[in-house]
């Protein structure tokens, strides 16, 4: 048992830290420090910067533009990224559709789509969820009919994060309505500028616009945008779910949030209840440590070449529960200061003013990516044998 980083890993950490100090824009750092979300251009500028360095597609094999890092190095990078006040990168291109394309895609598809993902030029969104389907992905209804040289897509997607930013959508569609539920689903890449696509915003309870409804009316998608075989969509969706995710627990960003919480408490000179706030933070730190070491174990296992299976469901559950707890603590420690929702000036402390937006936003984290209840069903079946 050795819980220390090697000298090489420590050197790596040092170099990443130095690079972050040079390259994370001050404005972005400030956005993170206040618990806000970056704008599209801030996010994209940052991802391009990482792309130029070859560090955007962290988990990818070198042949497709990954940096060739070990899981431990990727983990260190994530910690340094978060602690430098840089946001997590958007998962849709790098973590989701990219690996699907280099695993299932044709040579032409790889050549066409992968460079835009590794450079941060092409923004993607995910067309999975549909009204009334929820976590029951297999009940999707959006239909793609095969015509001469294209698919004709009709239907509706919902909860589509950043559809209004995206150039492309990867999408699950039903290509065979006669087949059984999980068969007859295919995986399509859709250009968001195609005629017939309409995007309507959904404003969430944090007051922001991240989510959308997307309507397809006779949208023509070229046949060459089908990934894998027709009817293979379910296999690809499952591949995506268990694809290696060493940062799914969100440990790095939670450490950053904890540091912000501490700073905010120290910044309020008249704060009267510091002892109880400190105990609350200690409580959160303890849970974060337990999550961190569990995550370390999966990182170490990944580096030893052991498969990373349904345990990722456990990390998702624990990680998101903790994010919610932390954001709630921030609101409650902020007390009255957390009531200023839309004030033109700072009331007491800006971090506490912003705290309820993040708390509101994070109610979604136990719902998105497969609700935590679904994750528990997966674990009960696959690990517990129930």
């Amino acid at each position: 048992m050795n819980l220390e980083f090697t000298q090489e890993e420590l050197d790596f950490q040092k170099s990443i830290r130095a690079w972050m100090r040079e390259n994370v824009p001050e404005a972005l750092e400030r956005v993170s420090a206040l618990g806000n979300m970056p704008t599209k251009s801030q996010q994209q500028q940052w991802e391009r910067c990482l792309g130029k360095q070859g560090w955007l597609a962290l988990t990818w094999p070198e042949q497709y533009g990954g940096p060739g890092w070990t899981a431990t190095q990727r983990y260190i990078f994530d910690i340094e990224r978060a602690m430098a006040g840089a946001p997590p990168t958007s998962p849709f291109g790098v973590a989701m559709v990219g690996p699907v394309i280099y695993t299932f895609g044709s040579p032409e598809q790889k050549e066409r789509w992968l460079p835009g993902i590794t450079s941060g030029e092409t923004l993607w969104c995910q067309g999975y969820s549909e009204p009334n389907a929820g976590s029951d992905l297999a009940s999707l209804k959006t239909r793609a009919e095969r015509k001469q040289d294209h698919y004709l897509v009709n239907g509706q997607k919902i909860w589509t994060t950043q559809a209004h930013w995206a150039d492309m959508m990867f999408c699950l569609v039903r290509t065979d309505p006669e087949a059984k539920k999980q068969q007859g689903i295919s995986f399509l890449l859709i250009d968001m500028k195609t005629p017939g696509i309409e995007i309507r915003p959904i404003y969430s309870i944090d007051g922001h616009h991240h989510l959308n409804e997307v309507y397809f009316t006779d949208v023509e998608v070229p046949l060459e945008n089908l990934v894998g075989q027709e009817g293979m969509g379910w296999t690809i969706a499952k591949f995506l779910l268990t694809h290696e995710r060493t940062t799914i627990a969100g440990v790095a960003d939670s450490y950053y949030a904890l540091a912000r919480m501490k700073q905010a408490i120290e910044d309020v000179p008249y704060y009267t209840d510091k002892p109880s706030a400190r105990r609350r933070m200690a409580e959160l730190e303890v849970e974060l440590m337990a999550l961190e070491y569990t995550n370390f174990r999966t990182v170490a296992a990944t580096d030893e070449g052991k498969p990373f299976g349904p345990e990722s469901s456990g990390l998702k559950i624990k990680g998101t529960e903790l994010q919610q707890k932390m954001s709630q603590a921030m609101v409650e420690i902020g007390g009255l200061m957390s009531l200023a929702w839309d004030s033109p000036s700072v009331v007491g402390n800006e971090s506490f003013n912003n705290a309820p937006r993040r708390y509101n936003f994070l109610r979604a984290c136990t719902i998105y990516g497969g609700s935590n209840e679904i994750q528990k069903n997966v674990l009960a079946k696959m690990l517990l044998g129930l």
Partner: protein, 370 residues
């Protein structure tokens, strides 16, 4: 970073599991529960044969130079088996204390523990000092020890006790024969045998004081760190045993015509237990490595985090196990309730949850990382 147990440690753990399976069960536990001495000579002899008495100590005293993680793997199995043999209290705790003191007198006493010639207990706590082991209320004045100690886990069979006391401004550690104390014995929450001691002006003779001053505080902190880590090990063993029993029960117990494990709510309870258990195991590895560190701050941070986490999550697993078992879970007849008592017990020894949260907050100022 790597989380694999060494071949040696794995062997120690496997041997412990086999030994307990062959020599200790719920029937033995129930018998032991009703005995006033928990040092069964036959089992103590077997422990000696297995090398446990020397495992945590250097070869120079006849030990095997084992690490905390090795001891933790034994204690994990003791917890899993509900075994009340006071191995930690009468071997590991006094032994490490004597080893760290390192004087000729101390090493001599350690040797007699390793050779199974003497049973020595540690008296760190009393009712009036809470978890603070550095400011005992007992004191030495004019060459005589007076005061009291409570919650001394001596298994009902120790002949000597290592006692902390104040001598002027100094903290001292001395060895006192139990026969010179007024003793009240009782059974503790987990079923183990405890003693309260009153010292009526015991005359301090040559050689009774083993250590004095800042050094005493330092070695006691080191030993308490071991004991905190081992509390976690014992709780992990118990929590894992509870999880396995409860999972098995959910698959076989039928209600409304189906196994209760087919109900989604029961499945989710069990998944909660499983995911908590995974994190408890991570914390056990973490604390078993860090409780041995020379860096006191890092060591104490690790111990406090682990004990605070166990007091929360391992206890929750025990509560959940009872809930899923239903009425049968709260009876003396079934082992589930006994594990529950063990869990509550260990959550209160060597610092409860609030104590550790406060200590963690004061040690780190929770400044995140980097």
């Amino acid at each position: 970073m790597e989380f694999n147990l060494s071949e040696n440690t794995t062997m120690v753990a496997d041997t412990a599991r086999r030994y307990l399976k062959d020599h200790y069960g719920f029937v033995t536990y129930n018998e032991q529960l009703n005995q006033t001495s928990h040092c069964d000579p036959a089992r103590w002899g077997l422990m000696m044969e297995l090398g446990w008495l020397g495992l945590p100590f250097p070869e120079t005293v006849g030990g095997y130079g084992g690490e905390l993680i090795d001891v933790a793997m034994i204690v994990r199995e003791l917890g899993a088996a509900l075994c009340l043999d006071p191995y930690v209290d009468l071997v590991v705790a006094p032994g490490k204390l004597l080893e760290y003191i390192g004087s000729e007198r101390a090493i001599g006493l350690l040797q007699s523990i390793v050779e199974n010639n003497e049973k020595v207990a540690c008296a760190f706590y009393d009712c009036h000092a809470g978890y603070n082991v550095h400011k005992p209320t007992s004191s030495i004045r004019e060459g005589k020890l007076s005061g009291q100690k409570s919650f001394v886990p001596d298994g009902g069979c120790a002949s000597k006790v290592l006692v902390t006391a104040r001598l002027g401004e100094e903290l001292v550690l001395l060895v006192v024969p139990l026969e010179s104390c007024e003793i009240t014995r009782y059974r503790a929450l987990d079923g183990s045998r405890y003693a309260d001691l009153v010292f009526h002006d015991i005359v301090i003779e040559d050689g009774m004081i083993l250590s004095r001053g800042a050094e005493t505080s330092r070695v006691i902190s080191q030993v308490v760190a071991w004991l905190q880590a081992l509390d976690c090990a014992r709780m992990y063993g118990a929590a894992n045993a509870l999880y396995l029993r409860t999972l098995e029960y959910a698959k076989t117990r039928k209600q409304f015509g189906s196994a209760i494990g087919s109900f989604q709510v029961i499945q989710h309870y069990l998944v909660d237990m499983f995911t908590d258990l995974q994190q408890l195991e991570s914390m056990l590895f973490m604390v078993s490595v860090k409780a041995e560190l020379g860096n006191a701050q890092e060591r104490d941070r690790a111990c406090s985090a682990a004990k605070a986490y166990y007091a929360d999550k391992a206890v929750k697993i025990a509560q959940q196990a009872i809930q899923i078992h239903g009425g049968i879970g709260v009876t003396e007849e079934l082992d589930i309730g006994h594990y529950f008592r063990l869990m509550t017990h260990c959550s209160l020894t060597h610092g409860h949850r609030d104590y550790h949260l406060d200590r963690l907050a004061s040690l780190s100022e929770v400044n995140g990382r980097g």
